[in-house]
Chain length 116, copies 2
DNA sequence: CCACAATGATACGGAGCCGAAACGTTCACG
DNA sequence: CGTGAACGTTTCGGCTCCGTATCATTGTGG
């Protein structure tokens, strides 16, 4: 069965999680970076710069730069495609999976504490 | 009864909403700005710069600048407190309420479309 | 072969946000 | 009064991100 929420619950959840992120995180990701990261980890591979740019409706440099930043954080990895060496395949990392796992935990915890 | 979610649902929801925000919104708010806006609209007034800074665990200039930006968008308003003219009371606006109402709709819609 | 398309990365100027520090105004109180 | 504290704002230099345009590399088709 689908997940049903009231408007109060929806905004309350967004509020609680955003607040938690702002309070705790020193280096928080941009909304775009977060969307890219979630896309990489929740949608079946392969992921390419071009594909992500099309999916998110942004330009390619946005993806390249986001991958630079998140790559430096160890959240994602890049590998050249040997079948077509123009492509770059974006790979998941343990650190990235752990990062999103923690995010999921926060969402679940805040949802549970929501007033009815 | 509290809102119960699986890890897959939690991340899937965050993914869907983030994606929706990135795709649609030309001028998207920072995570901090979003947290401030939600705090203003979901927590009973009055709201002050100092109070918001303490709640979000950020410095005062962060709040001032966020209010500048969101004020220019019409999402919030500022009024001097006549009881203590050092204070600035942050006021809600119709545009701000509408903005968050739409956000809530997106969250609810995406939650309903989530795979089980 | 060779011109052309496709892919991702880079250069560049511009804009926004950041933290730390200093500032102007307003209040409290001796 | 007048000294100091409280509050919000502004200033400053620095960093990151942005969009456009351009680039190097690699594949494709005549």
């Amino acid at each position: 069965m689908p997940l049903e929420m009231t408007p109060s619950q929806a905004l309350g959840l967004w509020h609680a999680v955003s607040l938690s992120q702002v309070r705790s995180e020193a280096h928080d990701l941009t909304l775009r970076q977060m969307a890219i990261l979630l896309q990489i980890y929740l949608v079946p591979p392969p992921h390419t710069v071009r594909g992500l740019a099309a999916t998110l409706n942004v330009t390619k440099p946005v993806i390249t730069r986001a991958l630079d930043t998140m790559g430096a954080m160890g959240l994602v990895d890049r590998v050249r495609d040997d079948k077509d060496r123009r492509n770059v395949i974006i790979k998941r990392t343990v650190a990235g999976a752990l990062y999103l796992e923690k995010l999921g935990d926060v969402v679940i915890a805040e949802a549970r504490q929501l007033p009815y």
